[in-house]
């Protein structure tokens, strides 16, 4: 469910970065106020490592033979509290991004939002905590965990859909994309929820103080903050997203723009809107020297284009080879 750089536009990426960075900074500041913060550090880190390792333990899902793995947001939030959990899951996502190229640097912020901010700052206080308000027992831990994980995953998957479509890299229709993502994540969510519930029940049985202390500590400072967070996150999104789109509005939508570029205006009987953007596109690229759209159609260009790309790749590859050779020579 990792969002990827390749499917992201800078506007969406930028807006999500602002939101996630804001949520992280807020969480970090919140934890700092907590006196136990230094003591909590190793527990947070090991929980993060646990989520990472647990994702590698494949377990078999009865009746299907396929295997699933543990997600983490709700599990971490239940054990550590929402804010520390957000920092922890972010650390895991950063490691996955940097060392395994899961997602990407720009998409990291989307992932932190989808898999961190949603479960830790929204689902945990709004669903998990109310469901376990009257104290813990195996039944309500399980219920809260399953519902929490399912809802969090649904929203997370929905986030991926929105971010991808808003970026406009893929032309997948909204409905089809939704149909592809949501049911799969419903199934994943149920399985993950059951396992999360099992782990939490086990922890509660063995070391009840871990869950209890988290709940009692976070209970003190909640309520009002929630609204503040939501409002400020929304404001940041709108500001950054809006600001960036001002810059970007000079550029037309990807598909139309490239149809223009490759095929010229004649091939598509364009609607007024397309036509307008196309004109804008020409204006935007007017500084390009000797660049005639009308000329650039027909198979001649396409062959030239393919040959050109091959030449570029060959040049790059050659440069790489020569550098490697020179380095080896210098060494020996």
């Amino acid at each position: 469910m990792h969002m990827a750089d390749a499917l992201l536009s800078p506007i969406v990426g930028g807006a999500m970065c602002a939101v996630s960075a804001g949520a992280l900074a807020y969480s970090a500041a919140k934890i700092k106020k907590d006196e136990l913060c230094e003591k909590k550090l190793p527990i947070m880190a090991i929980s993060g490592a646990f989520v990472f390792a647990a994702q590698m333990i494949n377990f078999t899902i009865p009746g299907t033979g396929s295997s699933g793995h543990i997600g983490g947001g709700i599990l971490l939030a239940a054990m550590l509290g929402g804010f520390p959990a957000l920092l922890t899951i972010s650390a895991v996502l950063i490691i996955q991004c940097l060392f395994f190229a899961d997602g990407g640097l720009l998409a990291l912020c989307c992932n932190i939002f989808n898999m961190g901010v949603i479960p830790c700052l929204f689902i945990y206080p709004l669903i998990f905590k109310p469901l376990t308000k009257k104290g813990f027992n195996a039944k309500n831990i399980s219920l809260a965990a399953v519902i929490g994980v399912v809802v969090a995953l649904q929203l997370g998957a929905f986030g991926v859909v929105l971010e991808t479509l808003a970026s406009g890299i893929t032309q997948l229709p909204f409905g089809a994309f939704l149909l592809a993502m949501q049911p799969i994540h419903l199934a994943i969510g149920v399985v993950e929820g059951i396992v999360t519930a099992a782990v939490l029940c086990f922890v509660y049985k063995m070391r009840p103080e871990i869950l209890n202390s988290t709940r009692s500590r976070t209970a003190i400072s909640s309520g009002v903050n929630m609204r503040k967070i939501i409002v400020s996150l929304a404001v940041i999104t709108v500001l950054v997203g809006g600001g960036l789109s001002l810059f970007a509005s000079a550029y037309p939508d990807g598909l139309e723009w490239s149809m223009e570029k490759v095929a010229g205006t004649t091939e598509l009987e364009a609607s007024g809107e397309v036509h307008e953007t196309a004109e804008k596109a020409q204006e935007a690229t007017a500084f390009m020297p000797d660049y005639d759209f009308k000329d650039a159609n027909g198979s001649g260009t396409s062959v030239a284009g393919i040959v050109g790309v091959c030449i570029t790749f060959a040049l790059a590859g050659g440069a790489g080879l020569i550098i490697s050779k020179l380095k080896k020579k210098n060494k020996s």
């Binding site: 527990i43 647990a54 940097l98 190229a101 159609n297 050109g308």
Partner: protein
């Protein structure tokens, strides 16, 4: 589950690469971070159909990989993980966008197909840019730089320690799952009904362990780190590298160099 340890050594193999010596390794971490970010933003800001304009961006990874002696296999292996989701999104374009862009001989190439290849290409470029950054910047330098950039202290510490703990934890999980497997008969993997206590055991055991490791770190001065964080001045090479990468990225982004090459070729043909 045997791949658990493989994945772990994959994680730490990048760190071994990053401790090598090369002109790229020697650069200031800040200049590498800026270059990487600029590169990714420029790549990503091109729309989903501009395969040819993306082509010149291939120079950066190829040259840096050669300069820094990074094995290509390392990039390929990880890129393969990132590809499926992107390929899915790309394939949908093949289905939904069928207008023909041009013909190769008599073979029609649709815009969807162009965008499919563009997305795959973008994925490879972005993935290599991130991996290169990590492969040429030692972990300690990276976190020190993040601290200098005022990323919240708490986040960096958690990041740093999670990274360290993964080794310990995976080893623990590995021996536990081996012990499980030896008694599990012919079942593959851990049964879902056992997963709660299996993972729970692993977690609780690690909690105590975590506190001891942290104590050992503190005994050797971990807490002092912040106070001692010295500013690291940028050198001439750092400026040159950053400027070269950023300017060429912006150039390739603003001017379609590839199209110019195409035009020249077109006229010749």
């Amino acid at each position: 589950m045997a791949d658990m340890r493989a994945k772990m050594s994959e994680l730490y193999s990048l760190e071994q690469l990053s401790s090598q010596k090369s002109s790229i390794h020697a650069l200031h971490p800040l200049s590498k971070i800026i270059a990487t970010l600029t590169y990714i933003i420029c790549v990503v800001s091109l729309d989903g159909y501009s395969f040819s304009q993306l082509a010149p961006f291939v120079f950066y990874p190829v040259i840096v990989i050669a300069l820094a002696d990074i094995p290509y296999s390392m990039i390929w292996r990880r890129a393969l993980v990132a590809l499926p989701f992107c390929a899915f999104a790309g394939l949908s374009n093949v289905i939904f966008v069928r207008e023909t862009a041009f013909y190769i001989g008599s073979l029609p190439v649709s815009f969807g197909a162009i965008s499919f290849f563009t997305i795959i290409f973008r994925t490879l470029l972005c993935v290599s840019a991130v991996l290169i950054l990590v492969a040429v910047t030692p972990f300690a330098q990276l976190t020190a730089q993040l601290r200098r950039m005022h990323v919240p202290q708490m986040l960096i510490s958690v990041f740093e320690m999670t990274y360290r703990y993964i080794g310990t934890l995976v080893n623990e999980a590995y021996s536990m799952s081996t012990a499980y497997k030896l008694r599990a008969g012919d079942k593959k993997g851990v049964q879902m009904k056992d997963m709660g206590s299996f993972a729970g055991q692993l977690l609780l055991r690690s909690f105590d362990r975590a506190e001891r490791v942290y104590a050992a770190m503190k005994c050797r001065g971990y807490a002092m780190r912040d106070a001692l964080l010295k500013p690291l001045p940028l050198k001439k090479n750092d400026y040159i590298f950053t400027a070269a990468v950023c300017l060429s990225c912006v150039l390739f982004r603003a001017v379609d160099v590839q199209q110019m090459l195409t035009d020249v070729l077109g006229r010749m043909m």
